[in-house]
Symmetry: C2
Subunit: 190 residues, 2 copies
DNA sequence: TACTATACGGAGGAATCCTCCGTTTGCAAG
DNA sequence: CTTGCAAACGGAGGATTCCTCCGTATAGTA
């Protein structure tokens, strides 16, 4: 789904292979334990030395961002698909729900990554902007249809949905997540 | 303001004194660095050994909770004061804003503590429940006045405000915090 | 096959956490 | 005031995790 994992410039075959092994191990670990992954464990799971992990991902943040990158790309694609298929408000609401699902799946790493300030022009920065812009199209459609207030913007909406995920992280309670989300949707309606 | 720091049972004078020194140092540190405090630093600032710190607060969570306890008590008092002084909706909104201010001040520790599952009957659990109940009175009043939807409850409302604080932690942007909060308020109105 | 730029791997130093236990001290009883 | 001891102190040090550094191995090329 979406453009396969972004490959860096020309590298030796073993480097490329290890890069992907590490990323795969990190994705699994993040899904299980969230941002509290132990980097030495990732390296062991990937079957590489800790030095290799640090060469590919110099900081913890780098690894987490790479883990999240594919999801950002997929969320962008999903936004575009929804724009083609579904009525404006339903599309917007459906996409925001996807944000929460992805966020919960990644144990809120998505939210943490989204909100961090990224280097200008970095892959993750580009992916986040692309995702947000794709969402903004959905918002614009719903506003043009007169269904959503004009003074809402996508940045606030994304932050709020991520906030719901963050605040519900320990007390995993889908019932409450739904009612909070519904409350937010009520707030953006015209 | 509010009942002074909750003192434990009969203790030796030095124990009581150190308990308070540690707590004071922890409050300062949390205000500055949030939940990432280094416990050895706290002990040094308080002028006690690390062993003493751990005797009084066996786990990091214990210390953070104690740090937050006074704030919870004060928020309870503020809710009661607002109930006496102000129109129902304004009181509710004002109190929720206080929640966010306190949360931001404590670097989101409040939210983290509130959402953690506490031992039944522990001081922090009691304080959180007391605070929430006091807030629920404000909500009830606004609902009775027909200004707020009946299907809203205080748990969701608190989580949402804490979610806003959490999601805005890095990108400290008061403008956006306000607009998200306003959006939530719009969502609870009738 | 030989050469070298590239990549690998893990030992080990630093930061932080937390426990354990020998030493000190408040305070109550005599 | 002394004495006795439960209560409290404090910090050395083991465990965990992070991250760097550098000697070793190898992919790709000529």
């Amino acid at each position: 789904m979406s453009q396969a994992s972004v490959t860096k410039g020309p590298r030796r075959a073993d480097a490329q292979r290890n890069y992907e092994l590490i990323l795969a191990a990190a994705r699994t670990a993040v899904a299980e334990r969230g941002g509290n992954i132990v980097l030495e464990d990732i390296a062991r799971d990937a079957g590489v030395g800790i030095g290799t992990l640090y060469r590919h991902f110099p900081t913890r943040q780098d690894l987490l961002e790479a883990t999240f990158l594919n999801e950002a790309l997929e969320l962008k694609d999903r936004a575009r698909a929804l724009a083609d298929e579904t009525a404006s408000l339903e599309a917007l609401v459906g996409w925001l729900r996807l944000q929460m699902d992805f966020g919960a799946h990644g144990r809120s790493m998505g939210a943490a990554v989204m909100n961090a300030k990224h280097t200008e022009g970095s892959p993750i920065q580009t992916a986040c902007l692309g995702m947000r812009d794709a969402g903004a199209v959905l918002l614009r459609r719903a506003q043009d249809d007169g269904l959503v207030r004009e003074d809402i913007d996508m940045i606030d909406l994304l932050r709020l949905t991520h906030g719901i995920v963050l605040a519900s992280e320990q007390a995993r309670d889908n019932q409450r997540v739904d009612s909070m989300f519904e409350l937010v949707i009520a707030g953006i309606r015209r």
